[in-house]
């Protein structure tokens, strides 16, 4: 390892279920070694400290989990970007905006009233957006939650000061390698052909369909996917509906937010 000083690492969480931080904590076998290699400076989920103020601390790497849902979050993210050498968007909420973007599909006022009732006015929220819509991001770790194996691999590249590989294949690639009988062959739909791999096709391996939590590939052929849906008797509406779960931001909101 060519790092003289232990890199200072921080974990920060915005609008999310914090499941991705848990995924990191679940790397039980690797944690002892990883913790020797880095100094974790901030990690509220893993500590008894309850404050969440973000100040002028310097970091080598920050992991940002969650969606940016209000101006205050955006300011913190900007500050973290300034203080950190490497910013990693961590999990679907942070990378594609995940399920949080669904709220963007309806007028914010209505959503706010639905959630907060008469206290709606207390919460100053804006349309949900991924971290990359606020600051430049160096690395993207996808998935809801992030994949542990991929996370550890990523950290190993980072520790060796090497650029981490970016998954560029569709989920089908891992799915087929695992010998799964394809959902389309079974007359069902699946977002695997257009979704970024790296999860090891965990959903399809266990009999499910890929829901696209890792985000649509940049060059995905959505026109072709429409055709594939039609081939198994599903409609354009079905496709829209499926894409909405994790990819609302991409399909509907990007222009409005950026």
């Amino acid at each position: 390892m060519n790092i003289a000083k232990k890199p200072r690492v921080g974990f920060f969480s915005f609008a999310s279920c914090e499941g991705c931080q848990l995924a990191f904590l679940e790397c039980e076998e690797e944690l002892p070694v990883l913790l020797e290699a880095v100094e974790i400076v901030r990690f509220r989920e893993a500590s008894s400290y309850e404050g969440r103020e973000i100040g002028g601390e310097e970091f080598d790497v920050v992991f940002l989990e969650g969606t940016i849902a209000r101006e205050k979050d955006a300011e913190e993210v900007r500050l973290l970007r300034k203080n950190a050498k490497i910013v990693v968007a961590f999990g679907a909420c942070a990378t594609t905006c995940g399920v949080n973007a669904i709220r963007n599909t309806r007028p914010l006022e209505i959503v706010r009233r639905e959630v907060y009732g008469e206290k709606a006015g207390w919460y100053d929220v804006f349309p949900a957006r991924p971290v990359s819509a606020v600051v430049p991001v160096d690395y993207t770790l996808r998935g809801c939650p992030v994949d542990r194996t991929e996370l550890v691999k990523f950290l190993l590249f980072l520790l060796r000061d090497l650029p981490a590989p970016i998954p560029k294949y569709p989920v089908c690639f891992e799915c087929k390698a695992a010998g799964v009988v394809c959902n389309y062959v079974r007359g069902r739909t699946c977002l695997g052909p257009v979704t970024t791999c790296g999860c090891g096709a965990i959903c399809t391996r266990f009999g499910g369909r890929c829901e696209g939590c890792r985000g649509i590939l940049p060059d995905a052929n959505l026109e072709g996917l429409r055709y594939a849906y039609r081939e198994v008797g599903r409609s354009e509406e079905d496709l829209k509906h499926d894409l909405q779960l994790f990819n609302s931001f991409l399909s509907t909101m990007r222009e409005k937010v950026l």
Partner: protein, 393 residues
């Protein structure tokens, strides 16, 4: 234990370890004739056999697999999610010899989707080869699969022979089952001339009440030995039934839709045809066609370190020309960044370049990619279009 090797390209195997790869040269475009010749040769191969034919009764199939399992692992069609796939079987009763077509091919037996090759020590650089485990018996390959294996062999033996593949291949015993009719609506082996078993160690021909068994090669002896108590001698009626079955089969596969002799030239002539665009628009680059295809051979190398960064494992894993990143090089430049160019490339590998080069079909018409493709792209449609057809591709 690490082996230290001198600098230079590591050879996974000392030269000359496999005897099976006799040097065959194929004449361009003449594989149809060659196949006939080979069939004649196969018929008359080995010591003159005086034997009576052997029959494996349907009720004895499970015992036959059990007998094989005593000698080694068995890779065969099993049922999965209402379909069939090739897998290493645990219990003899898992075998589905009646499987019409498996959704995935059998190539994974000799070319696993991920194959750890070597492990090396990061500080000393010492390395050791990881043994290429492989199934011993491949049971239930169809004729198209035996042709695919031939194509695979040609490719893997070309240039620097792929020792790893060839060692596995040498180790494996192929027990193939003749198809008597087209196995499903997507297959087109009749058009590709691949509906008769090309080469197999043991061939089974389905009969009303079982299988007619023929032992073809040296490697078949082990199977013959294992099945000594299980097989019955064929009666005169059964010999006659076999002949009937075989002639009925020729009819079932007649009506080829592709002119194989002309295919390479026709594909070449259609290289810039506008209809490639139609496919390019639909293709999802999902790579399923590549993964299920028994003649797709592409792979990538990956290194994976352990968490304390002391050791690293180098593996090869499947890759494929349908992926956008496949042709990405430094720059970043991508010499096939266009979807349409990618699908055209794959189809030309199957219908023009490799069949011309090696003299065997590189699309064996198994139809697996057709079944797998979510947008209905099919080599048969492409070949027909290239030969003057007008149907949509």
């Amino acid at each position: 234990m690490f082996l230290r090797r001198a600098a230079g390209r590591p050879r996974w195997l000392a030269d000359g370890c496999f005897s099976w790869a006799e040097n065959e040269s194929f004449s361009v475009g003449l594989f149809v004739f060659r196949r006939r010749r080979l069939e004649l040769r196969l018929r008359g191969r080995g010591e003159p056999k005086e034997e009576v034919g052997k029959i494996l009764k349907k009720r004895d199939v499970i015992s036959a697999v059990e007998a094989l399992l005593v000698h080694g692992s068995v890779y065969a069609p099993v049922e999965k999610d209402d379909h069939f796939v090739f897998e290493e079987i645990e219990r003899a009763s898992d075998l589905r010899l009646e499987a019409a077509q498996t959704v995935h091919s059998a190539k994974g037996a000799f070319f696993p989707s991920k194959d750890p090759l070597v492990r090396f020590d990061l500080s000393s650089g010492d390395w050791e080869e990881l043994p290429p485990a492989a199934p011993r018996f491949l049971f239930g390959l169809h004729p198209c699969d035996t042709w695919a294996m031939k194509a695979f062999d040609c490719w893997m033996r070309d240039g620097i022979p792929d020792d790893r593949y060839l060692r596995r291949r040498e180790h494996g015993v192929i027990i193939a089952v003749q198809c008597l009719k087209k196995c499903n609506e997507d297959s087109f082996c009749g058009s590709m001339g691949t509906y008769r078993i090309f080469e197999a160690d043991v061939r089974l021909t389905p009969m009303n009440n079982g299988y007619f068994v023929e032992f073809e090669t040296e490697k078949a002896r082990e199977v013959e030995e294992a099945w000594r108590e299980i097989l019955l001698e064929a009666t005169v009626e059964e010999e006659r039934e076999l002949e009937e079955m075989k002639s009925g089969m020729e009819d079932a596969f007649s009506g080829a839709e592709v002119d194989l002799e002309r295919l390479p030239d026709d594909m070449k002539a259609s290289f810039y045809a506008p209809w490639w665009r139609d496919m390019g628009k639909r293709c999802l680059d999902c790579g399923q066609c590549v993964a299920v295809c028994p003649t797709c051979t592409c792979f990538a190398m990956i290194d994976e370190c352990n968490v304390s960064l002391t050791e690293c494992e180098r593996s090869r894993r499947w890759d494929g020309c349908m992926f956008h990143s496949f042709a990405e090089v430094a720059g970043p430049h991508n010499f096939r960044s266009d979807r349409c160019a990618r699908i055209r490339h794959r189809m030309n590998r199957k219908g023009q370049w490799l069949n011309r080069r090696f003299g065997v079909p590189f699309c064996v018409g198994c139809g697996r990619c057709v079944t797998a493709c979510p947008v209905g792209i099919s080599p048969l449609k492409v070949f027909k279009r290239a030969q003057g057809g007008t149907a949509d591709v």
